[in-house]
Amino acid sequence: MIFVLVFLTVSAMLLIGNLALGVLEKKSVQLAYNILFLIILAGLSLAGLAYGMETTFLNVISINPFSLFFILIFSMGMLLVNLLAYSYSDNYGDFAILSVFALAGMYMLSMSNSLITIFIGLELASLPSVFIILLSKKSVEAAAKFFIMASIAISLLSLAIVLFYGGSGSLSLTNTAHSEMLVFGAVLFIVSLGIDASIFPFNLLIPDVYEGAPAYVTGMLGGLNKKLAFAALIQILILAFIGYRSVFDLLAVFSVITMFFGNIVAIMQKNLKRMLAYSSISQAGYILIGMATASAAGLMGSLFQIFAHAFAFIGILGVVGWLESKNIHTIEDLNGLSGRNRFAALAMSFFMLAFIGLPFTTGFVGKFLIFLGAASAGMAWLAILGIINSVISVYYYSRPIMAAYTGENRGVLKRIKMEKPVVAAISIAIIITVVFGVYPQPLIAVAHNAAVYLLRT
């Protein structure tokens, strides 16, 4: 009870403070304020996780291991995105206000226990995102496409909710009824949330949006908004449809086609950011494998992978944003990067290796848990398809690394520097990726608790 009040108060202070500071137009103060409050929020969620907090507040807010896990991801992720935006965005003040509103939506969705709050949370998170994309004058097309995606998603989601209500007679997620209408509802849930979660074939606009948006926004969209859709999908499917094996089989089919689509198309990409967009689609496919098992082991893998990919993705987009500001867009342009900025080359290679699944990075542990979960749930074929995909992905992830460390420098031989907040954000992402890769036990425990909590209720 007190925990919830403290949490809500801090969140409200973050929101109001940003509005006030936005008026004052003091960039650095606002950044410091945001960092402070986001650290407090992340710390609160960590404390909640450590004590195994499980309470409900006013019947709409539910604090549990699952919600706290996502609150942790969103707080930390938003902190990194703030650091990036501070350096890259022309009007950080506007970004901060909008991002805090999006964050409020993410919190609401994480803590929801009914479809109404999920609906509002998703809406609250995606509308500010449209305007965040629009902050950059060049990204109008991307913003328009994202807006179209979001509106289709939201309308389909409402349709799904209607079907669900018709079938179960309640908007609460815990559901015991069985009817045809509910199955159609489940399919529409997958489709509507799959648009943001970049499930093939609902993801066809995603690469355009990710490529068109400024890099730090892409980091937010791929690192946080996409994970938000997954949070909603996991909650709905596990809580309401756990008895429907075929819904999860459908998810398995989607996971396979999503992985293959993402990986195969990524091979041919020349633009680094577009390649990363397709790579994040394939990563979504791995996450779906774990969900399709509908078991604690697989779900734990998915949650771990969500955590792993969120930070690695924001981290690499930090590097890409810096490259973009130096007018480096394609993989070929990367030639000789290590001679110009060692840190950028090293960080980029590191994140690429983490995406491949290098041991002692979170990328490896996440994939390992997912594949093991699939194998132990009797879906070894799904695990093998996943591994085939991660072997394919070596093709395109290794190309930027090879380019960065060989080849003559085509551009000016001058060394170029990186802004301090960007270095900080990238370093935090690297530290998270390494620490939980070398010592994954705490994160595994947290993910396990979250998965068990969902399966229990």
Partner: protein
């Protein structure tokens, strides 16, 4: 000491090379790190070492190192050859811009092989295996500006990729059947056992370049010569043979040893013919490597693991020596064809070391290749198998001595003469070092039996001391001499290159028909694999290109793009709803 610590100096060197901007320091760091690892080998003891990593629901996932005489043998081989490889690279890799990447990749490659040698569970084994594949891909395609290098690297990786997928599937099967990642675990269910054994068989055949996957190895010559020397002697291709030996109990239980026997025999025939036909030095040696790998697998599959392991040991030394020789010859002459790389006598030391390498491979008496052949021959009981091995022994002697005959012809080219005399010291020192190892390893013949049975481990029951029969000595020597005479008659310096026998060998209908016959019949079987191979290397790109082209086309018409999107979306929703309805999901 924990065996995994062996890779620590190597990884430290990698980190230092990556962090320091210098292009002169990496070579010294690499050499020092390898020597440090070699010295640390003295503190390694037999035993099984577990390193827990994390646990899921009570089951601990971690790395296991299992140090047995067999793994120690491989560790010693790798750590003796690696320093000479790095020393040779001092002189061979001269461009400052390529230094850092080369040494980083080579050190990781070496570290992966060390971990592979000591792996005691499938997690460790698979990780090392993957690193070997990935680093060999990077190293074969080292000169990535060259189109042929990129193509070879793609060919290598797409062949090896089949093996990677096979091994992971095998591990999944074994884990499902036994619930354990330990290498000793053998599924008791016959179906699972057979499936896992066949999958592992595919993995081993791809890694060790055996039929029908043998073609990637000769093509992998596009990398720098020290890389080839390393790849052929102690790392990568040896990993397949080594995996075969440590997983021997599993294959034995699954009764598929005869499969290995047939496949390795086919490989031996194809690659012997290939080596005799080929005129490019490095490709000749590469074909001889696939032949020798075939011999090792053949020997192990007929039950003489000790002979296979001894051959495994000696082949490493003289094979890397031969690669160094060929690298030096090519460096001096600027040519890569057997009949144009002449003037070897200009540098006495290179001449002598090359002769040592060639005579070892040919199987002359005091040289290690002789003992390798005799070890295998003396464990054969069937006459026909013995005859087969004898024919192969003769052909090997013939095709490799040909090189000496041709290379020792005088050269008129002043530039070549100068290049021979000015060969970098480091290259010569490493060649002398390796020829000493190649000579010394002969003596190991008499000790390997007791060394391999020196400690208790699963394979111990299969180990026996190597014997030598007097008529083996006579026959083996006679075969080698016969090869020498045939070669001399055909290629000696008194005769012109278009001598009668040479002509017969290289242009005759009989030989070509023979080769074509074998090649056609056998490669017809392999073409099924080749199609898959092509699909992997080109197919993905074609599909990717198609999809991205259509994506690019669509992007130009932004409005059309969204229309298509909505259309696809509706179609997909319809399909998913139909699925939900048609499959009767409602219970």
């Amino acid at each position: 000491m924990l065996p995994f610590l062996l890779v620590f100096p190597l990884l430290l060197a990698v980190a230092l090379i990556a962090l320091l901007r210098s292009s002169s320091l990496p070579r010294y760091l690499a050499l020092a790190a390898t020597i440090a690892s070699l010295l640390m080998l003295f503190f390694i003891h037999y035993g099984v070492y577990n390193v827990g990593w994390f646990s899921i629901g009570g089951a601990v996932v971690g790395f296991t190192a299992s140090i047995t005489p067999v793994s120690l043998l491989l560790l010693v081989i790798v750590l003796l050859i690696a320093p000479s490889i790095f020393l040779y690279s001092f002189g061979y890799m001269k461009k400052p811009s390529e230094q850092r990447r080369y040494y980083i990749e080579m050190l990781i490659f070496e570290a992966a092989m060390l971990v592979f040698a000591m792996s005691g569970n499938y997690i460790t084994l698979f990780l090392a295996w993957e690193f070997l594949s990935f680093m060999s891909y990077m190293l074969i395609g080292f000169y990535k500006e060259k189109a042929s290098a990129a193509r070879s690297a793609r060919k290598a990786i797409s062949t090896v990729l089949i093996g990677d997928i096979a091994i992971i599937a095998a591990i999944a099967v074994i884990w499902t059947a036994t619930g354990s990642f330990s290498i000793g675990s053998i599924p008791s269910n016959p179906a699972y056992l057979l499936a896992s054994a066949l999958l592992l068989c595919v993995a081993i055949l791809t890694k060790s370049a055996q039929f029908p996957f043998q073609e990637w190895l000769p093509d992998a010559m596009e990398g720098p010569t020290p890389v080839s020397a390393f790849l052929h002697s102690s790392t990568m291709v040896k990993a397949g043979v080594f995996a075969f030996i440590i997983l021997y109990p599993l294959f034995s239980a699954a009764h598929i040893l005869y499969l290995f026997m047939i496949i390795s025999a086919i490989t031996i025939v194809i690659s012997t013919l290939g080596a005799a036909k080929e005129m490019q030095i490095k490709r000749v040696i590469a074909y001889s490597t696939t032949q020798e790998l075939g011999l090792m697998i053949f020997a192990a599959s007929i039950g003489s693991i000790t002979a296979a392991l001894y051959f495994f040991l000696v082949q490493s030394f003289y094979k890397s020596l031969l690669f160094f020789s060929s690298g030096s010859v090519m460096e001096a002459t600027g040519e890569d064809s057997l009949d144009r790389t002449t003037g070897l006598k200009e540098n006495r030391i290179i001449y002598i070391t090359t002769i040592i390498g060639v005579l070892s491979l040919a199987g002359f008496l005091p040289f290690s290749g002789f003992f390798g052949n005799v070890g295998i021959g003396s464990s054969v009981s069937s006459f026909w198998v013995y005859l087969f091995l004898s024919v192969i022994g003769f052909s090997t002697s013939f095709f490799i001595i040909r090189w000496i005959m041709l290379a020792s012809k005088k050269t008129e080219n002043q530039k070549t003469k100068l290049a021979y005399r000015k060969m970098p010291k480091s290259m010569i020192v490493s060649m002398v070092f390796l020829s000493a190892l190649a000579l010394l390893s002969s003596a190991a013949f008499f000790y390997i039996g007791s060394f391999l049975s020196g400690s208790a481990y699963p394979l111990q029951g299969y180990i026996s001391a190597l014997g030598i029969r007097s008529y083996d000595i006579v026959i083996e020597t006679a075969l080698a001499l016969l090869g020498l005479f045939a070669s001399y008659y055909a290629f000696s310096h008194n005769k012109k290159i278009s001598g009668r026998l040479v002509h017969m060998i290289h242009n005759s209908d009989i030989f070509n028909a023979l080769y074509t016959y074998f090649a056609d019949v056998l490669l017809a079987i392999a073409s099924g694999v080749a199609i898959f191979d092509r699909f992997l290397s080109n197919g993905f790109e074609d599909i990717g290109r198609g999809i991205s082209l259509s994506g690019r086309g669509l992007r130009r018409f932004a409005v059309g793009d969204i229309n298509t999107y909505v259309f696809v979306l509706i179609a997909a929703i319809a399909a998913a709803l139909w699925y939900a309805y048609a499959l009767g999901v409602i219970k």
